[in-house]
């Protein structure tokens, strides 16, 4: 049973436009959500996170939105750049402790075309 799902395996956008990556979860106990970016042959790198007490968190071009009632989060990248082309994983956990014990989605491959 997949507790965290990214239903779009891939996404292609034009440079300068907005990229929106989506993630759904089923476990109501999750209260901390993270996005990781992964380039080929490298480890995942932390991008941005949000706790369940917020519905939005921004960091430069990256914004994460959380809709707790729908158990849905999304990552917005504005404007998208070719260097953003990578696999993006959303992950969920309980934020009270041991926050590296993560449940990951399957990943979405983002391609940003020049």
């Amino acid at each position: 049973d997949q507790q965290v799902k990214q239903n779009s395996p891939s996404l292609s956008v034009q440079e300068g436009r907005i990229s929106i990556l989506n993630c759904d979860y089923t476990n109501s106990m999750f209260d901390y959500f993270l996005w990781y970016k992964k380039y080929p042959a490298e480890g995942p790198t932390f991008l941005i996170s949000i706790s369940s007490i917020k519905d939005k968190n921004e960091d430069g071009r990256f914004t994460v939105f959380l809709n707790k009632s729908a158990k849905h989060l999304s990552l917005h990248i504005v404007p998208s750049q070719p260097g953003d082309s990578a696999v993006y994983f959303c992950a969920a956990t309980r934020g009270s402790s041991n926050t590296g014990k993560l449940i990951f989605g399957q990943g979405t491959t983002l391609q940003v075309k020049p």
Binding site: E42, F46, S49
Partner: protein
């Protein structure tokens, strides 16, 4: 970059042989993790450690064991490698505290033939 070193980076081994992967950190973080990444599954937790000699199972622990004799080192052992254990293995660390992020190593690509 977080100070995490995984070794080896690549390994090819034969079915039935034992294999040990090493993760070394220089951050003095309390928690360490082993994940595997497979197509269609994202990353899945194998085992984790919450201190020296303190370990617990994750989501996909069958066929794997771990040990942590020092804060900085976390070893993953495949007692008798199988083809289903062909994967990319990532070590991660996180510090004690609430709502902190985990940092990942560069990964070890293991092929069991």
């Amino acid at each position: 970059d977080a100070g995490i070193t995984q070794s080896p980076r690549h390994k090819v081994t034969e079915t039935g042989t034992p294999v040990t992967l090493r993760c070394h950190q220089t951050e003095n973080h309390r928690y360490m993790y082993w994940y595997r990444q497979d197509p269609g599954h994202g990353l899945r937790l194998i085992h984790y450690s919450y201190g020296v000699k303190d370990t617990d199972k994750g989501e996909v622990s069958d066929g794997y064991s771990v040990s942590r004799s020092k804060t900085e080192d976390f070893l993953l052992t495949l007692e008798s490698a199988t083809s289903s254990q062909t994967s990319v293995y990532f070590c991660a660390i996180s510090e004690e505290g609430q709502y902190t992020e985990a940092f990942f190593g560069q990964g070890t690509r293991l092929t069991v033939v």
